[in-house]
Amino acid sequence: MAKADKQKKKQGIPMPKQKPEDRIHNFNEVALGYTTEQALAEAERCIQCPKPKCVQGCPVELDIPAFIKEVRERNFDEAIKKVKEKNSLPAICGRVCPQENQCQMFCVMGKKGDPLSIGRLERFVADYELQKGVTVRPRSKSSAGGKVAVVGSGPAGLTAAADLAKLGHKVVIFEALHAPGGVLMYGIPEFRLPKKIVQAEVDYVKKLGVDIKTDHMIGRLYTIDELFELGFDAVFIGTGAGLPRFMRIPGENLGGIYSANEFLIRVNLVKAYMFPEYDTPIRIGKKVAVIGGGNVAMDSARSSLRLGAEEVLIVYRRSKEEMPARLEEIENAEEEGVKFKFLTTPVKFLGDESGRVTGMKCITMRLGEPDESGRRRPIPIEGSEFVMDVDTVIIAIGQTPNPIIQRTTKALKTTRWGTIVVNEKTGKTFRKGVYAGGDVVSGAATVISAMGAGKRAARSIHRYLLRKKRMRQRKET
């Protein structure tokens, strides 16, 4: 191989993007996706390892080299088929998975240059199919034929439902909100994950025969016990981690202080960014502080810019290295002009007489020894307090599971963080016939880990239903 060629192979094809100065004025998708030429060139970089390491980094065990090979040979239909054997939501995963910590982290190409852009290629084949129109093969008839209730329509619920439907079960998803998709719909903004993509993936799950009932909050409208009374044989709980955490410091209930969840629900789910064409308002000030350092904080900060804030500051109590957000999103935020204030945390919010926030008193931190998460613990530096003027604050310091189901269901074991205790391998809870997975079990994590949990639970629910049926038959004979 010529030297120039070798050099080329080391570098991945960059993702075409909207220019920062344009994109901060709109909610359209930032990453535009590969063209066919770009996808072919990137796929060409794959060396098709005989013992591929990338696969072990994928929580749903996608056969990565096989689908890349199909892309190389321009068999895009075959490529997407390969992907969908393991992943029902590829257009979503291709966009939001932290590939740098998963498949791409293990890619051997990454040792000498850029790892293969597996996520971008996944997105490419998924978008190819969406553009063409998705066809669904008739599902296999299973002898089990059970009825399963899935609670929550986030990635965990959608995946469990799709897999169970493919196995021939009747599945009904109960979703509390008016739109299915979970965080994909109400949390992750349009410019990172267009809602029509989420809708298309949801439609695919529906085409598999899954019935989705929105506006059904389980625990209030029906309890888990009542779902069994309604004739369901098994229940999967995928209700996520949707309860926002607050800081519990003075002044937190002043006007202009949002939880990231409220802010993002207003912007994404009820489209406040199109107010007054849409009825839901959002108030964004001139100077916004976002507290936190994860994806949720990045999404809130970037949405604030797009809503017209003049200055957006991410205030994080550790340093840049410890930020849990995806690298790509931190870079995007920086490009767009989001500013960062590290090693800082608010201790008090200040307001005016009408009850609106006008500033926050902060304290500077230094990093100590690593804590149980392996990240260095922030320690406040005494006497380092200072005041920062802000007129909007978005608190993005994490979420815990919604407690309603846990409060209304007997014999479900929960941890002190409110997560449901399950057998890791099977998703089985302490209640017979009840399974759980995703953020409600792990605490706030990732789309793909929620999908992995949904998959494992679907497999064990299927086995449970087969067993149940055999027992019934034995009794009858």
Binding site: D215, L221, E262, E277, T280, G355
Partner: protein, 322 residues
């Protein structure tokens, strides 16, 4: 107006009196025809509409699943159409047999105006519920139910359930002026005593409902518990009346809500120095522990945008100011 109100009262009474009385049906098996017939048909259609007072309307809505489960004190969140806000309203009445719920609301802004503009046969896009915790109904002894404005609608199912639980119920209902009084006969029917007040004195006592409560307490009424439901200022005034007497006072808070299920924290209120979510932990709280001044400020956050939205929609002719 007068005649219509009277006629309405008798009709309403028979409907409202059934709250909580009818036996619940067994649950239909999911996926069966019976289930489909009962719950999936013409979701959230408006079956009946009445105007109780200027700008105060009653809608009866087809919502069989909610009707089966709802209890006094719970609410729904509705979204009128694709572009609509999510807005909370109390379930004033339910009929599990018929599969309906009844809402009574005041047109105060864009969303309630749009709801008020619906006619029989129209559909609401989304209705989620029942949400919030049911009222804790038990035998207290002597209970005062103090209500202002549309708070009377919210109080009605609670007062009724309290009466059925064997309590002696003294109701005090109030409004700015007599035309705005609602559910007077209904409240009278389930109360041992009923008092009326209007701000302008056009009917009953001239002044606030909290003044009447104070009068009764001073007269020697020894209430075991007081329910105060209505505008935030009215609830605040009522707890100020009961505080010196240490009478347990329960209020039903109405902060701004978005999801109504514990996801956003927009509904957070300070109760006893702690932050609570009204949709998850309420909407009823011990009134003596509530930080009302904070709640009042939080309710005004979107004043500007609310006005803007109404003006815009008025221009486009979508809604009319009554």
């Amino acid at each position: 107006m007068k005649g219509r109100e009277k006629d309405l009262s008798s009709k309403l009474r028979s409907e409202l009196l059934s709250f909580g009385k009818k036996k619940e049906n067994a649950l239909p098996l999911y996926g069966t025809e019976e289930c489909a017939k009962r719950s999936m048909k013409a979701m959230y259609e408006v079956l009946k509409k009445l105007e109780l007072a200027p700008k105060i309307k009653l809608l009866k809505i087809n919502a069989p699943e909610i009707a089966r489960k709802a209890k006094a004190g719970q609410f729904v969140i509705f979204r009128i159409d694709e572009k609509g806000e999510r807005i909370p309203l109390t379930i004033v009445e339910r009929d599990p047999q018929e599969g309906t719920i009844t809402l009574i609301f005041q047109e105060v802004g864009l969303s309630t105006m749009k709801l008020g503009a619906l006619e029989t046969g129209d559909e609401i896009m989304n209705v989620t519920g029942p949400l919030g915790n049911p009222t804790e109904i038990k035998h207290y002894g002597l209970v005062a139910v103090v209500c202002g404005g549309t708070g009377t609608a919210v109080s009605y199912p609670i007062a009724k359930a309290l009466k059925e639980a064997g309590n002696q119920v003294v109701s005090i209902i109030g409004a700015r002026t007599k035309e705005l009084l609602i559910l007077e006969d209904e409240m009278r029917n389930i109360s041992d005593e009923l008092y009326i007040s209007t701000d302008d004195g056009s009917k009953g006592h001239k002044g606030f409902v909290s003044d009447v409560l104070k009068m009764l307490i001073e007269k020697g009424y020894r209430f075991d518990v007081v329910y105060a439901i209505g505008p935030t200022l009215m609830m605040k005034a009522t707890v100020n009346v009961t505080r010196p007497y240490s009478i347990k006072t329960i209020v039903s808070l109405n902060p701004i809500m978005v999801d109504g299920m514990g996801m956003c924290g927009a509904c957070r209120v300070t109760v006893g120095g702690e932050t609570k979510f009204a949709c998850l932990d309420g909407p009823e709280f011990d009134g003596h522990l509530v930080d009302f001044d904070e709640l009042i400020k939080r309710l005004r956050v979107y004043l500007l945008e609310e006005k803007q939205a109404v003006e815009l929609h008025e221009k486009s002719g979508e809604i009319k100011r009554g």
